[in-house]
């Protein structure tokens, strides 16, 4: 009887120590049927840069829950070429890179594009970009409605409904906006936006990349499963010198279960951040090599020195300095990271917070990715 407390103490200690055994290493995966990446595969040499490539953690719990959640969402949407006519990334130019959590339809994405990016959208290919720079927009919590999605009822694999979007028949989802604005799009749904009750259309939500530049090598990084399924999205574009530049839009969990929070030593987001870093590295190893990487997202961090951010800053050593401003209430949730490897012609400038929230509960963040072509010496100069 009296030893029960001791047993509980030992169990507690062992459970906390087992946190070190929670895996975060990513492996390549592929769908066996449909669009869910059920099968973990070994590295297979050169990769297709047009089809969506998957990475996920090879852990029984993560695979089981990830598969169950994936079975409720619709197909990923990949449109690598913008249908609009936009300025290219040329010469010694810059690309504006922005990250923003849209809050599942709460944020007015079209107004954001118009006022922050200078893009007026319209039917057909009438979109006009008033700014001279191309842009890449890294989005979280975007949503899509599609009646062809499977109908789902309330259960453990369907989170509750979020946001104002989707309720009206004229509400525009991420696919509509990409079409109306002529932008390239990579959208990978993470989860359903609530069960189907008949009150709203069938909806899913996830991360996306919108771009005025052509994209390639679309990648989905299914992060370790904590409280819900989170899929980071990556895509590549070409710099004026031909170098590949990868962009990644990520969203980490705000909180895990109480059990996992306690027994992992509160490592929910640290585990997901390490998986994201490993996934990007794994994608590099699988090729094509893309040394220059910009990662932006909603990391749901409570403090500016949280473990997840420490890991990301170490993995992306050329990241711009955080100025200390919060982006969701009193929390510094949204950040951008950068690394250029040996490509010193790339740099980032003007990193900051976008003040207007455009209806979302998050501020966006932006930076300029600059490219300075190497100066060629005179003939014979070595």
């Amino acid at each position: 009887m009296r030893s029960r407390g001791g047993v509980a103490g030992v169990v507690l200690l062992l459970a906390v120590l087992s946190a070190c055994a929670m895996p975060w290493e990513m492996d390549r995966a592929r769908p066996l049927s449909g669009y869910c990446p059920q099968e973990i595969v070994a590295r297979q040499g050169p990769v297709d840069t047009t089809a969506l490539r998957w990475y996920r953690v090879n852990d029984d719990r993560d695979l089981r829950l990830g598969d169950a959640w994936c079975g409720t969402v619709g197909d990923p949407e990949v449109r690598l070429t913008p249908s609009g006519t936009f300025p290219p990334w040329a010469g010694a130019g810059a690309v504006r890179v922005v990250t923003w959590n849209v809050n599942v339809g709460g944020g007015d994405l079209e107004a954001f594009l118009a006022r922050e990016m200078g893009l007026s959208c319209g039917p057909g290919s009438s979109a006009r970009l008033s700014a001279s720079e191309p842009f890449v927009l890294l989005l979280q919590e975007v949503w899509r409605y599609d009646e062809e999605m499977p109908a789902v009822e309330r259960d453990d694999h369907v989170p509750r409904t979020f946001g104002a979007g989707g309720g009206g028949s004229d509400a525009e989802d991420i696919i509509d906006i990409a079409e109306r604005c002529g932008l390239a799009l990579v959208y990978v749904p993470s989860a359903r936006n609530g069960p189907d009750t008949g009150a709203r259309p069938h909806e899913d939500k996830g991360n996306a990349i919108l771009s005025t530049l052509p994209l390639s090598a679309p990648i989905a990084f299914e992060l370790p499963f904590e409280a819900g399924r989170k899929v980071a999205v990556g895509a590549t574009t070409r710099a004026p010198g031909g170098q590949r530049v990868r962009f990644v839009s990520a969203h980490l969990d705000v909180a895990s279960t109480f059990v996992r929070t306690v027994f992992s030593g509160n490592q929910t987001r640290a585990r997901q951040a390490r998986a994201l870093i490993d996934g990007v590295d794994e994608a590099e190893r699988d090729g094509p090599v893309t040394n220059v990487v910009v990662v932006g997202g909603d990391f749901n961090t409570w403090a500016g020195n949280e473990s997840a951010l420490l890991y990301l800053r170490r993995a992306f050593p050329d990241s711009p300095r955080w100025e200390g401003l919060n982006t969701r209430g009193s929390f510094p949730t949204d950040h951008m990271f950068f690394r250029r490897g040996s490509f010193s012609m790339f740099d980032v400038t003007d990193y900051g917070r976008i003040e207007e929230r455009h209806g979302s509960d998050h501020h966006g963040r932006d930076l300029r990715l600059t490219f300075q072509p190497p100066v060629e010496g005179p003939p014979g100069f070595r």
Partner: protein
């Protein structure tokens, strides 16, 4: 033996509770929190052993209040289970376990939480980069520290108060 067991359980939980957020600001958070739990457990073994060896009444009092704490924690866990989507029965049980640990040193952990909350609020107000997470950090750490001081105080007064029917170290008389 009972004091050792209860002290270990309670100390490990306090050690973990106090280090959860500070360790999540390091590059080795899992091991850091495990170290906190281990250190707390070791201290709890010592304190619980001393109390159990000198004053069985005090130990029984702590066991009873741990039971109350477990019930309260469990009730909160069951309530949250119906509100928080990802919470299940395992989370309710874990909350009961944490509640039991806090309940074994109720006065110290409550006073510690209060002092930690005041400190956290001051830090939040004074330092521009501090925020709600710092407030929670100080509150949890204060509660954990207060709980351990409660155990230490119980160990230091156990012999003096043996046979006087003292259930709690902070002059809360149960019978």
């Amino acid at each position: 033996m009972g004091g050792v067991a209860l002290g270990m359980y309670s100390g490990a939980a306090f050690g973990l509770m106090g280090t959860l957020i500070p360790c999540n600001r390091t590059m080795n958070g899992g091991r850091c929190a495990a170290s906190g739990a281990s250190a707390g457990g070791a201290l709890g073994v010592a304190m619980g052993g001393l109390i159990g060896a000198q004053n069985q009444d005090a130990l029984v009092g702590r066991l009873e209040s741990a039971g109350v704490g477990a019930l309260v924690g469990g009730a909160v866990g069951v309530g949250l289970r119906s509100v928080v989507r990802q919470y299940g029965w395992g989370d309710a049980v874990t909350m009961a376990a944490v509640g039991g640990a806090v309940g074994s040193a109720p006065m110290g952990s409550a006073l510690g939480a209060g002092a930690g909350a005041v400190t956290g609020a001051l830090v939040w107000a004074v330092f521009p980069r501090a925020g709600l997470s710092d407030f929670v950090l100080f509150t949890l750490a204060g509660s954990a520290l207060g709980g351990m001081i409660d155990w230490a105080n119980g160990a230091s007064t156990a012999k003096r108060e043996a046979g006087r029917g003292v259930g709690f170290s902070f002059s809360v008389v149960t019978r």
